[in-house]
Each structure stands twice: as structure tokens, then as C-alpha cells.
Symmetry: C2
């Protein structure tokens, strides 16, 4: 595995590989690698000749009161996991490499970034689309792998790629869960032992909701009420949102039909967890 910190040497490696006809798979991450990332990497390795994983904690996607400074930074651990996972090139740029002095340019997807997580995280998706656009331009991958855990992020990235004609295939990979159902996340480590015991209620509630929708329930309010009471009765979690939206466009649904995304964000203390399930009705 090569670790590359600068853009020009990376471009050089990639151009050489492309000239030999090799395909490039790309997994963008903020580090703190876990089995979710490993599953993206595995898919990339299966489908491409060369897999590039980036580790960059992107400051522009954190709000002023969010957890940028305490976000886990553990490069040696990540490097080991990346190498074990079969990464060919690990791109690990500094903030100054990505956002040099007098940086001025942003990519923004309107509309679908103001719902769900966008309500409480203004500017978050603008930071995401900007860094992903930059990384696509630097790496020029054939395929890019993102996780369904961040369902809205996946839809927003796909929309950006399609709207701006980036020539890359975005593949969204299933959520990887702990044995008790908790969706893998770099933020799970912030949970206290009690919060960690309570947190599986999110996936349990979603699973129940999925079952009820599959058996014919068409009223989103009933689903939202069910999940709400389930979480409130079984945990100290503070609900930020629970929504039923179209899984492809994120449009809120009045009747549960088509590809339904049931998504939620719940805070356990200062730790914000998200989870979701898709139901095809």
C-alpha cells in the first residue's frame, strides 16, 4: 500500500495506472475506519483493478458547534486497517492541501439538502458535495463507494454527480450493523455504556416499522408515531427527526408507496446517531 499526501504524485500514480487500462475504485472516508468502511473497500476491490481510500476529516462539513475537534483521529490504526483491507493507495492529505489559503469555491445541491439532516446541520451537505467533487477531480475514479448509513448523503452525492456530469459510477452499499443491530459509525464510541445499551432501539424500531409497512400500512404518521413511542419508552434518546420520504428523491410522503426511506436522527447526550431502512412497497 502506498500512502500519498500530495495531489500531484497521486495524479501521477493514477495516470500511470489508467494508461495501463486499469480501473480505479474509490472509497472516501473521514478515517476512524470500521467494518462499514471495510465493506465498501471489499466491493471496490472486487469491482476494480486498483482501490484508493481517502482519509480526510473535512472541516467544511462540520457546523461551528459540531464535533470537528473531537472527531476521532487515529491514523496509525486506520493505516493498518486500510493495508489489511487491501487498499492500493491511501490518500491522506492535510487540510492545507485540500483547502489552501484564499479558498473560495463551493458546490451546492439545492432542495434535497434542506430536509432531514439538513434542517439541523445547515451547510453540512455543501461541505460534503464540495469535498466529494474535489476528490473525484483529484482521483478520477471509475466507481465510488458510499454507505447507505448516510442515506441522504448518498442521494445528494448521486444528484451532484448526475447534475454536474461527473464521469463516475456512485455505488451505495448496505448498512453494516453490530450484532445487536446498531449501525456501525465512527461516532458510536462516544456513547456511554448505558447509551450504548439503549442505542439498538433505533434499528429495532426501524425493523418494526418496515414490517408494518410491508404488511400494508400506508399512513406515514402512524409509522412515525410508532417509532417515536418506541424510542421514548425504551431510551434516553432525544429524537431530532423521524421521516418517511421517497428513497430516491427524498420527497416527504403523504402515502407510503414506492421506494420508501424511513430515516431518523436521535441524540444520546451530545452524540448524534442516524439510521434508516428502505422498504419497497
Amino acid at each position: 500500500m502506498r500512502v500519498v499526501k500530495s495531489i500531484q504524485p497521486l495524479r501521477q500514480l493514477i495516470k500511470q495506472a489508467k494508461q495501463k487500462g486499469k480501473t480505479i475504485g474509490f472509497v472516501p472516508t473521514m478515517g476512524a475506519l470500521h467494518e462499514g468502511h471495510a465493506s465498501l473497500l471489499k466491493k471496490s476491490r472486487k469491482e476494480n483493478d486498483i482501490s484508493i481510500l481517502s482519509i480526510f476529516i473535512n472541516p467544511t462539513q462540520f457546523g461551528p458547534h459540531e464535533d470537528l475537534n473531537k472527531y476521532p483521529r487515529e491514523f496509525n490504526h486506520d493505516r493498518r486497517l486500510a493495508e489489511q483491507g487491501g487498499v492500493d493507495i491511501l490518500f491522506y492529505p492535510s487540510a492545507k492541501t485540500i483547502y489552501p489559503r484564499e479558498y473560495l469555491t463551493y458546490i451546492e445541491v439545492n432542495g434535497i439538502t434542506n430536509l432531514l439532516c439538513g434542517c439541523t446541520r445547515p451547510g453540512h451537505f455543501k461541505g460534503v458535495t464540495t469535498i466529494v467533487g474535489k476528490l473525484i477531480n483529484i482521483i478520477n475514479p471509475d466507481c465510488m463507494y458510499v454507505g447507505q448509513k448516510d442515506a441522504q448523503q448518498a442521494v445528494v452525492i448521486k444528484k451532484m454527480v448526475s447534475d454536474l456530469n461527473f464521469d463516475v459510477d456512485v455505488k451505495v452499499c448496505p448498512i453494516i450493523r453490530e450484532p445487536d443491530g446498531l449501525a456501525m459509525s465512527s461516532r458510536n464510541r462516544y456513547l456511554s455504556p448505558q447509551q450504548r445499551r439503549e442505542a439498538p432501539i433505533l434499528s429495532q424500531s426501524l425493523k418494526k416499522a418496515k414490517k408494518i409497512i410491508s404488511s400494508g400500512e400506508r399512513n406515514p404518521q402512524k409509522i412515525i408515531r410508532l417509532i417515536t413511542s418506541n424510542i421514548k419508552q425504551n431510551s434516553t434518546g432525544m429524537i431530532e427527526y423521524i421521516e418517511c420520504v421517497n428513497a430516491d428523491t427524498l420527497t416527504p410522503l403523504k402515502i407510503l408507496t414506492g421506494n420508501i426511506l424511513v430515516a431518523l436522527a436521535v441524540k444520546f447526550g451530545s452524540t448524534r446517531l442516524i439510521d434508516n431502512m428502505v422498504v419497497r412497497s
Copy 2:
């Protein structure tokens, strides 16, 4: 010359050329081709194996009260000129091809888009950077050629390309002028015979300003006053702005030093003309 209207066939042609190791030069235009465009094309042909010229009147860079509807559309004339000029591929997409239904994504350069033309054309440069980003992604050129006539546009595009890590070399080519000094522009044809006779005052004033700066004048206000009185005394043009800024960053100058861009916008009736000169002091 091949005329291509859709994105996929264009990508296919370009990929085939790239696989053979050919380099691609790209000249983006809004049609109504004139000798200014021809000079960009000539440079592209000299420096690249294949030259692609696009004709697309980009609706997102026109304000609601601007001249989108009356902007000259003369495809047959343009196609002839493109062919004579040695274009290999003419990309001529429809508005629907470029901005399909439910289009949501924009690229924006902050700061330097709020000065000069940005003051009276809010949103204009956001439209420009969005379409240029899309065209770079579609065409994947090695070099792109833009005119110094639109000095601010050239700086904004270079900034976007650098900030977002687009892998393309942006080359800014000199202004081409009519024999009497008027900068070539698709909008010159809107001028009445009297306005056309008056319009060369713009370049004449800039030339005088350049001479005075070259002989040591360091006070931008004196230069601005000189050009103002020159234009007012010799034409019916209404001055929108006259500015002395750093040619690379567009920062307004209090003392004329470094690479100085003297830029102006003047309206003759409803026709808005821009011109500029760069002085290295």
C-alpha cells in the same frame, strides 16, 4: 467536423481519442462566433490533437432582465465558421440536455464574483462556473481556451478550476479588436450606427490610461476620473463601472502596482459593453 448534440456519444468519441493518446483542446462559446472565438480555436488547434468547440447559450448565467431571449442564435452560420476554423467536434447540446428536469446543483466562487460585473449581474458567475464545470466534466479536456475580453470571467474560471482540482489547463487569450479598437463581442451587433461610432472610446480611453500608468501614475482615482471624463465627453455611453484591480485576484487597488487590470462596463442604450487592459507596472 462532427456535430454532436448528446453527452454519451461525445464521451465515447473523446474516450476513443484519449485511448489513442490524443490531447483535447476545448473552446466553450455561446455561439455568434467572431474573430475572438477564432483566435481561441487557432490556439487550441496549435496546441492539441483534437479541438472541441461548444455552442450553448447558457440560461443560468443570464439575469431575469437580461438579453437571454434576444441573444443571437445563428447555428448555420456558426457551424460554417467552426468548420472553416478547423473544429474537430462541435458540441451543440439542447438546454434540456444540459439542465434536465429537477436540476439542483450549482458551483459558486465566492468573493471575486461580487465585484465588477458581479455587482450588476448577481448570479451571473454562478451560472458561468456551473456550466463550465459541467462542460469540463463532459469533455475532459487537457486545455481550455477563454478570452481576456471577459477578464473577470477568466479569473473566476481559473479560480474554480484550481479550487475544485479540475485537471485542465485554462489558457487566457488576448482580446481581439476591430480595426478601430472596439473589442470583438457578440453584442456589438446590437449597437445603433451612432453607438457603433462612439464605442471605440472605450478602448481609446483604456489605451490612454495604460500609457499614463506606464509613465508612472500610481493613483487609481486619477485614472478612473480620466477614463470617466473621456467617455462622458465623447459618447452617450452610461458608465456602469470603471475599476483598477489586481489582475490576478481582482482586489481593488489603492496604489497602482503589480499586474493592474483596468476594467470597465458601459451601456450604450440597452447594450452593455465591457473592455479592459492589463498594465504591468
